[in-house]
């Protein structure tokens, strides 16, 4: 395990401290734990909180700031944060307009955020939440936990964040957030696994000529292994699965080509070259594209594609101002 760290117990705290020291005008850390809030609390708006395990940087601390989140709670690497930490975050940002939690659909995340919401509601704070589940790799079925929330979550932060900034009430912000959840789909792959610092060894193994398809964001294996193909073929594999899931015909979309942490931007651009052409061939109009590391898995090499169907409301909110450490519009 080759990592730029000091000791495995402290990676989350030192990471959060390094973030707030880099962007003191944007964010600060609560004393109680790895909880990041805006440097200057904004009243009169619905407060947005998100979070999850660490290891997805810049998610979620990097998205705290004007036009996006008010708070991000960072758990141990790939492990949901605990209810008490989330509760402290909620208390720190709550306004009289209430709080919206953006939760990725993992058993742990959902349970811990739910417990925190119960604690906050007992204090009389108005809390609602949306659960993101954009990963089409996992079959949706009544008999499972449902799909995972992955990179599409960043679109929820951006768009619900912009809506909250307008002063809209909690129901309205919730509605818009849910609209993004309903219209975004993602799928990912990996060329290499990643290593949780405390575990010290990779989450799975891959041969030199293999890739993992249908990967999540926690270093876990995907739905299956395949022989490595060309970037174009891989892009089409992922896109086909996304396009088969909901109807994108004649729709305008936002595209996110998200790197997993160790993928050179060069390769993400090469992927985007094909994604753009393929969607255009299919008559799908690309309104906006995001290429970069938005929701990573430590030092995993790989990427995901997210497609968000847009309407006029979502377009306007997507274009609205955002000023956070990792996302500026």
């Amino acid at each position: 395990m080759k990592k730029l760290i000091n000791c495995v117990e402290n990676v989350e705290r030192e990471m959060i401290e390094g973030l707030v020291k880099a962007y003191p005008n944007h964010v600060r850390k609560l004393d109680c734990g790895n909880v990041v809030v805006r440097a200057h609390k904004k009243e009169g708006k619905v407060a947005l909180i998100s979070g999850g395990g660490s290891g997805h940087e810049p998610a979620h601390g990097g998205y705290v700031g004007e036009g996006m989140l008010d708070c991000a709670v960072a758990g141990a690497v790939f492990t949901s944060p605990t209810p008490d930490q989330i509760y402290e975050g909620i208390k720190a940002i709550a306004t009289d307009k209430g709080v919206l939690m953006v939760v990725k659909n993992y058993t742990g995340d959902v349970m811990n955020f739910e417990m925190a919401a119960e604690m906050a509601q007992a204090d009389g704070i108005d809390v609602q939440y949306v659960v993101t589940n954009d990963d089409v790799a996992v079959e949706n079925s009544l008999y499972t936990t449902g799909r995972r929330g992955v990179a599409g979550t960043v679109f929820v932060h951006k768009i619900a964040g912009a809506k909250a900034e307008t002063g809209a009430d909690l129901n309205e912000v919730h509605r818009v957030a849910q609209k993004v959840v309903d219209n975004v789909r993602s799928m990912g792959m990996a060329l290499t696994p990643c290593t949780v610092p405390a575990a010290g060894k990779p989450g799975f193994e891959l041969n030199e000529d293999e890739m993992e398809i249908g990967i999540g964001i926690h270093g876990e294996p995907g739905t299956h292994k395949e022989k490595i193909k060309s970037a174009d073929e891989i892009a089409v594999t992922l896109l086909d699965k996304i396009l088969a899931d909901i109807d994108y015909n004649d729709k305008e979309v936002a595209v996110m080509i998200n790197g997993s942490g160790a993928t050179p931007l060069m390769e993400l651009f090469i992927v985007n070259n094909k994604v753009h052409d393929y969607l255009t061939e299919k008559g799908i109009k690309i309104y906006k594209t995001f290429v970069g590391n938005y929701m990573t898995s430590l030092e995993m090499a790989g990427f995901s594609i997210s497609l968000l169907r847009l309407d006029d409301e979502l377009k306007e909110l997507l274009d609205a101002k955002a000023d956070t450490p990792a996302f500026k519009e």
């Binding site: 811990n112 417990m115 008999y143 936990t145 739905t223």
Partner: protein, 207 residues
Amino acid sequence: MTDSKKLIDIIQKISTQIQMDKDYLTELDNVIGDGDHGINMARGFKEVEKKLSDFSNKDIGSILKAVGMALVSTVGGASGPLYGTAFMRAGAAIGAKNEMDGNDFLNAMEAAIEGIKMRGKSHEGEKTMLDALIPAYNAMKKSYEENNDFKAAISKGVEAAEKGVEYTKTIIATKGRASYLGERSIGHQDPGATSACLMLKVIQSSL
């Protein structure tokens, strides 16, 4: 069956066992989950250990609730709220007693299981900790009702839990992270069922 002092001793032993099996549990989770179950549980019980000295004058219900709170606030992930809720519910079920007998234990365990089901929206047969805990509870209850002997009952419970752990290898996960693997989860043992079974074994050997 046990008093507060003995309970503290058992909790200490559970913690020791979890620390010892940290890598084993993590390895199991690596195969069908995200490879952190041992790390999570070890972090949680380390925190519990720190609190043990505060427990000496407390009743059993308070001790179990405090264990649950410590787990909830340090474990994270899925197992944190689940085990946390389990211990908190168990504590609430027993209340302010300083001794507990076999019936108390079974009531507490039932409450713990109900807590897990509620929090996890889960039931038996989904390849989770419940597949160790529910059969164990049923076997213990039956044995205790027949013989009124807690030692015999916990032995039956451990036996059933071990079978339950084996059983998790044969089924598809429909809850937790392992459910994303679908068919690929078959053949592998559930880490949460394994940690639950470990705890029961420690109780057995401590009595």
